[in-house]
Subunit: 246 residues, 2 copies
């Protein structure tokens, strides 16, 4: 499937995405699902995709083309004055690409659908994050709902809910996301390493640390093994259950 | 939705089911989803249901009727000589009830579908557990796959995978299931307390301890709160992440 998470912190934004793509269980590949753009001193934009790969690759390619050859009629994401307008542009593009192939009518279950997490900062605006639907509309994250997950979201959600803290450091946020990804990867074969990570520092207005966590990464292994042990210990420390009186 | 889990241990079987039923978010009710039958000294059978409530209630009612008025042509679940044959009977009944209402053809996405977890022990047979599909066929649990979940399964699965131990006591198994249910209840509004529990002791050939965990049960509260705290502490104890060198 896919698993991508965008996390909003007081210190900035953290993005993590897997790289497994599959067309049936007998056809798996590795494709990047995270894409970044920057105009240093002015903007940093990150986009992560889930869903039909042909759709998402078309959206990325069109965004790239139009940002390299902007015109008054077709400003690209490097020209839009706010993240809200970038989200609107990406949403319209996503809807357009899907409708090129999908049958007319309801878009909800189309095989060509894709969902996008878009985040970043432009100029004076605050860092922000959007979840863009195949229909082209979108919602924005706030500290009430400070993260968006796309793809196989359920296994990895409980730990995000419980351990997320808006004041947490970037390092702790990466650790949190790795635990969330580990639960997902263990449960769904179509989500897998390597993982792409982008740490965006609020106010920096340029791409931050971008790196890949490889399939045999020793830190990931230590988190994965350590978390299993930690869960069993935590379970053992819960108060004992006593059968009710008959 | 529903959440029910059947767990197989060396010591016996543990069943837990929620009781929330809903028809849209504005129409929620409480209905029992666990049903038990016994012939003391001979058999104990437990059945838990997920899916279309009208379908599952019909299946239960027909099982009840036929077990009270068995005939040579229509033996009931209290007459079948093995759990495998009980599973076959229940599977056929489920398929029959669904097809009474569903359109002809593919059954996979029918609005009338239901899934059943069936467990128990008859005579000399070992305790066993089955997952019965709307198509009427079924699979059997073994110590390779020693539990079945039906309904909203994803949130509650990681802790089962990590903390399950075939040698665990019944009390620990109930505690484990409550942690699994707590993650699910926190994440999906259509799963809720009260919870029904049945602890079947291997070789006893009669129903075991059957009880309900109420909405305000203090032990459940202590597990729910304690687990949140334990997860945050476990997370804090994982090795720190260090940003890779640029």
């Amino acid at each position: 499937m896919t698993y991508c998470v965008g996390l909003m912190l007081k210190k900035g934004l953290v993005f993590m995405s897997d790289t497994r793509t599959n067309s049936g269980v007998d056809n798996i590949s590795t494709f990047q699902k995270m894409f970044t753009w920057e105009v240093p001193g002015e903007r940093s934009i990150t986009l992560m995709t889930a869903g039909n790969l042909a759709t998402t690759q078309s959206v990325i390619s069109l965004l790239e083309e139009r940002s390299k050859q902007p015109s008054e009629r077709n400003p690209g994401i490097l020209q839009m004055p706010s993240m809200f307008q970038v989200a609107t542009l990406v949403g319209n593009l996503l809807k357009e690409v899907i409708s090129t192939h999908a049958e007319a009518g309801q878009r909800a279950d189309s095989a060509f659908n894709a969902t996008i997490v878009l985040g970043g900062q432009i100029g004076d605006g605050a860092p922000c994050m959007f979840l863009i639907y195949p229909e082209g509309n979108f919602i924005e994250a706030s500290f009430d709902t400070p993260y968006f997950q796309i793809g196989e979201t359920k296994y990895g959600r409980p730990i995000l809910v419980r351990a997320y803290d808006p004041e947490m450091s970037f390092e702790d946020a990466v650790k949190l996301l790795l635990v969330s990804f580990d639960s997902t990867i263990k449960a769904n074969l179509s989500v897998s390493l390597p993982l792409d990570v982008h740490i965006y520092k609020a106010g920096s207005l340029k791409n931050g640390r971008i790196f890949r966590i490889a399939t045999d990464d020793p830190y990931y292994e230590s988190v994965s093994t350590g978390w299993g042990i930690a869960l069993r210990e935590a379970f053992g420390q819960l108060p004992d259950f006593v059968l009710p009186e008959t």
